[in-house]
């Protein structure tokens, strides 16, 4: 019944893995450039200014979006007990997305960029993305509308929320007037542009990188441990909390800037409130994940889910903290922020993706996973990698922030900019080592999954998945 959906999901998941590995390798290159500037090779297309947006866009639009689109379409069809409303459109979406992304990344390397973070693509690419996103929404909600079940399954709430919010804020933030091909100016200026940008910037994190994965977790964790969701009520709190508070919190990126103070303060209050739905979601997922003790002991895929939840709890604790003025004063503009993002991106998003791949790809291909031993190897590599990464940037970033603000007793600056650069050097290396270990783990996973798919014997899977 679901041949097309399975084929489509395979394509999206494989694309997600490929973009993920490419995006992480570009990220490693960026990290190394910050340690060894010679690695910019005085080259126009691969210097840090180009590499950094290539990294973020490959990960967000490549890994994350392929993962969310592919799996949310699969989940919506399965939980609604119907096929997707259009086979043709769903493949248009798949190929359209990959082609747009390739053109988009090339255009950034050539210097066509709006410079707005996580929205660097210029207007022609933006138009393509909006069209594709509307196609995604049409397929998703169209399928949901003709469902054979009475209730909308909780995963679909989150996916639906992601589609609506991302569609709206991406469109508004990218409103621009075209100047010439692949060059436009935002229709907003200065402080007003900053507000629109961080309305988007923070929600790209909140919805693409958070709500989307919370949604897929509500489907895959119960399947993996073969137990129901721990609490329906907590999932309601998570959903409405994220929808209700998240879009307000963006101005914590603009504390102490020239935007009006009352707007800054909204961001602080809402960021602290976000703690509640975040930890409610984390607790719910944790309790679901640990409800099957035997599976928890022996299955390393469950460990990946558990650590992803732990990193989620960590990142959503650190986030509100950094939104408080006193911490923000130190953290703002420093590498601490990059470390924080990666405890979310590598710890939460990364581990969730990894766990889902290990669980779901063998199921899609109706094979047993090739090696659980290699999963354990990956587990160690991924965790040592993330820890190296974020601890390096905790020390490096906090040091950077404190030293930048430090004044001598006579009131002059204690450290010059060069002093701070020299202080950061070892931590930049530490971060690169952490990233490299994480990528090594990803390659172990790719090998393991390729061997799984290549296995000749098929296994009969009992029940639905």
């Amino acid at each position: 019944m679901y041949e097309n959906e399975e084929k489509l999901t395979k394509a999206f998941v494989i694309a997600a893995i490929i973009w993920g590995v490419i995006g992480m390798c570009i990220g490693l290159m960026a990290a190394l450039q910050l340690y060894l500037p010679q690695l910019n090779f005085a080259n126009e297309y691969i210097n840090f200014g180009k590499i950094r947006p290539l990294h973020t866009n490959a990960i967000i639009f490549g890994l994350v979006c392929n993962f969310i689109i592919g799996l949310s379409l699969y989940i919506v069809a399965k939980t609604s007990v119907v096929n997707l409303i259009s086979k043709g459109l769903s493949w248009f979406l798949f190929w359209g997305w990959q082609i747009t992304l390739v053109i988009g990344l090339i255009s950034i390397a050539l210097g066509y960029t709006s410079t707005k973070e996580y929205a660097e693509f210029e207007w022609p690419i933006d138009i393509a993305i909006v069209v594709l996103w509307l196609t995604f929404g049409y397929i998703f909600f169209g399928t949901l509308a003709k469902r054979k079940t009475k209730h909308i399954f909780v995963s679909n709430w989150f996916s639906g929320g992601v589609i609506i919010v991302i569609g709206l804020i991406y469109l508004i933030n990218n409103l621009a007037i075209p100047v010439y091909a692949f060059k436009g100016y935002s229709i907003f200026s200065g402080a007003s542009d900053a507000l629109v940008q961080w309305w988007w910037g923070h929600n790209a994190v909140g919805f693409l990188l958070t709500a989307g994965f919370v949604g897929t977790n509500y489907y895959f964790i119960p399947k993996l441990v073969n137990r129901p969701i721990y609490s329906y009520r907590l999932s309601l709190i998570t959903f409405w909390g994220l929808i209700g508070f998240y879009t307000w919190a963006g101005t914590h990126h603009l504390l102490f800037t020239s935007v009006p103070t009352w707007i800054q303060n909204i961001g602080i209050v809402m960021s602290i409130l976000l703690w509640i739905p975040s930890w409610a979601g984390a607790y719910n997922a944790w309790m679901t994940c640990t409800s099957n003790k035997e599976e928890m002991r022996k299955n390393p895929v469950v460990w990946f889910f558990l650590s992803s939840i732990a990193y989620y709890a960590l990142a959503t604790f650190e986030g509100p903290l950094m939104a408080i003025r006193w911490f923000n004063m130190i953290a703002h503009n420093t590498s601490w922020v990059i470390g924080h993002v990666h405890s979310g991106a590598l710890g939460w998003v990364g581990m969730t993706c990894i766990a889902t791949f290990y669980y779901f790809i063998p199921k899609l291909y109706k094979k047993e996973l090739y090696s659980y031993g290699l999963v354990k190897v990956h587990f160690v590599l991924a965790h040592v990698g993330v820890l190296f990464y974020i601890v390096s940037l905790w020390i490096g970033g906090i040091g950077q922030g404190v030293k930048s603000l430090s004044l001598t007793e006579s009131g002059s600056l204690t450290y010059s900019f060069v002093d701070i650069l020299r202080f950061m050097e070892p931590y930049m290396l530490g971060r690169a080592i952490g990233g490299a270990l994480f990528i090594l783990g990803m390659l172990v996973m790719v090998y393991n999954l390729i061997m799984t798919v290549k296995k000749t014997q098929k296994v009969v899977i009992e029940g639905a998945y």
Binding site: F48, R52, G111, I177, V179, S189, D193, H253, S258, L407
Partner: protein, 205 residues
């Protein structure tokens, strides 16, 4: 409410959209109306043709990946980077360039600090000027010339957005940028930063 949204797709879409747009109307939307008041009080002047071309180079090269243009109003920041940004300073900044990472120093007032010659040497080989620098080298900027038609298009677009360029300024643009390299334009842009908004005692240390 929960009953209806878990059973009706239309209700789900409507309620979610409304809830999400609250924040938009409270703190994003009002921002669109600051602009006219800010224009009244700003001391910022529109960029010259060459400076504007340089700003486009600054954007294209991704300088925002490492350089902020937002001095926070904190004593150490004022000491290190000069006068803090005011809201009206950036009223003509279509695409704000505040950035969020200070891997390199803030550039809000950089036009007050160095000479053109320094910038050229530094862009071609930063390590020759600041040995500990981790900035990439940009020699190619001084090999390629600016496309004049692009500069005119940029000025016209800015005019449409409300930057007070006169027709004569746009007509004269080709003579101002002809034969200049992208590096020349970038330096001209960097040299303009902080100049219009300069105040007594607000210089860089």
């Amino acid at each position: 409410m929960e009953e209806s949204i878990s059973k009706s797709v239309m209700a789900f879409i409507t309620i979610t959209t409304v809830v999400v747009l609250f924040s938009f109307f409270v703190w994003v939307f009002p921002g669109f109306f600051f602009t006219n008041d800010l224009k009244e009080i700003t001391t910022a002047k529109p960029y010259t043709a060459l400076e504007l071309a340089g700003r486009d180079v600054y954007m294209a090269e991704g300088c925002v990946a490492c350089h902020t243009q937002m001095v926070r109003n904190l004593e150490p920041e004022r000491k290190r980077y000069g006068r803090p940004n005011k809201m009206e300073d950036d009223v003509y900044e279509f695409n704000f360039l505040w950035s969020s990472q200070r891997t390199g120093p803030d550039l809000t007032n950089i036009g007050l600090k160095y000479t053109e010659g320094w910038h050229k040497q530094h862009l071609i080989n930063p390590q020759a000027v600041v040995p500990a620098s981790i900035m990439p080298q940009y020699p190619w900027l001084f090999e390629k010339e600016i496309k004049v038609s692009n500069v005119i298009a940029s000025m016209q677009a800015m005019k449409k957005l409300g930057v007070p360029y006169t027709d004569t300024q746009i007509e004269n643009a080709p003579t101002k940028v002809e034969g200049k390299t992208r590096g020349d334009a970038l330096i001209s842009y960097l040299m303009s930063l902080g100049v219009d908004t300069r105040e007594e005692g607000g210089d860089l240390n």
